[in-house]
Symmetry: C2
Subunit: 246 residues, 2 copies
């Protein structure tokens, strides 16, 4: 079994001994039955990772002695932000989980015209905190040392405004004539940053498509079939890495 | 709202009037509140589709008058079979659903060394029937006129034996040195048929990797992070279409 991976956001390269959260200590002691001397990995959520050993552990506290810095899984060459129309609870969790695993640099839950999730389900900080926990759990599991930032729910217009000079790819229904994703980036240098926009289950309004087009976004279709909104993020990320290199 | 799509496996090009199943009639009448004259689409599950209108409907029977043959969503150029190590109930349903949506020609649920699902969960025909219903529901929803065949559970060795002359791609952990999927097909003509092999949650045994290699399979890694077994099929299908065209 691979060594457990633990997120310690405050860790620095100077640290020789780090304390784990009570939740991590509990999980290591009670679920994984870890004992002193067991190998673990500690990462900071921003791309650095260390190999360590448990130097103390109880059900409520644990500390790790750092052995040496480790080489983390490489990050994609492109800092890709995924802005995705709000989906229902489990679907949105799955999008955050899979986008983390597939190397998104940031995730923006987006309110759009056809979002069908009632505002009370996403107003307030509890739901954002849950998505952040999902992103952390996914990073731990997939071996990633970066936890993508999950922002507060942002309006479609503000998402476009926040990225004026960044290549933008809006995923649209196959019926809207659009470039296929296999043409993305052909003949263009690979960007340093990019923004992928995916609508909610109800799709985009005509006004949103126009607004995106006016802001310079490229409309792309993800093949000739209609994809589910919670699968489209995995497809667009994979297609972009296929074009740009993983 | 797009016209409802209905699967009628027995339909032929000579038919002018077709009867729907009791389940479809019930769904149209009770859930969609469809009435005589409403437009529907009828497909045969093998790639042909027709536009029609409801000519009679009750809660238990309905018939459709065929208006003309329609152009179905195009199928991929490559007949790709996805063989996937058995996963737990909901995960396997999701794999069948997404592979249908992403254009797999056939789906083979596979028993392998590290499959963790108990045999009683997949022996017998009930589970295969459930996966076939999932494939049909997904084809209806995504606009596909082909329903991929879902075969009986097949052993890893028999899957390899069944495809001696077909290009085979085995998805492996990033730690096994392997070609990245972005190199698949570079410099080779696009095949007519291909087989993608994806392991169960517990991954492949060393013997399975050797057996696949000996049978001529190419080992491919799906990027530098560890993907969940139920997401890997979507990633490998997307990457292959990115290389071969959608």
């Amino acid at each position: 079994m691979p060594a457990p991976r633990l997120l310690v956001p405050s860790i620095t390269a100077a640290d020789r001994l780090v304390s784990l959260s009570a939740a991590d200590a509990h999980h290591l002691a009670r679920v994984l039955r870890a004992t002193v001397g067991d190998e673990v990995r500690v990462f900071d959520g921003h791309g650095r990772e260390w190999l360590g050993r448990l130097s103390s552990i109880s059900g409520s506290a644990a500390s790790v002695e750092i052995v040496h810095e480790a080489t983390p899984a490489p990050e994609p060459h492109v800092r890709l932000t995924l802005a995705v129309g709000l989906l229902k609870g489990e679907q949105m969790d799955r999008v955050v989980r899979d986008a983390t695993m597939l190397g998104a640099f940031a995730i923006v839950p987006m309110s759009t015209t056809h979002v069908a999730v009632p505002p009370k389900a996403w107003k307030g900080s509890a739901v954002i905190e849950r998505w952040r926990r999902v992103a952390i759990a996914s990073a731990k599991q997939c071996g990633r040392a970066v936890v993508p930032d999950v922002s507060a729910v942002t309006s479609f217009t503000d998402v476009l405004r926040s990225a004026p000079d960044v290549p933008k790819y809006m995923c649209v229904e196959p019926s809207l004539s659009a470039d296929g994703l296999e043409t993305v980036g052909a003949g263009h240098p690979r960007p340093r940053m990019a923004l992928a926009l995916i609508g909610p289950e109800g799709g985009w309004s005509a006004a949103e498509v126009e607004e995106a087009r006016a802001s310079g976004a490229t409309l792309v279709s993800l093949g000739p079939r209609t994809l589910r909104a919670d699968t489209a993020p995995t497809v667009v990320l994979t297609a972009l890495w296929s074009a740009w290199g993983w």
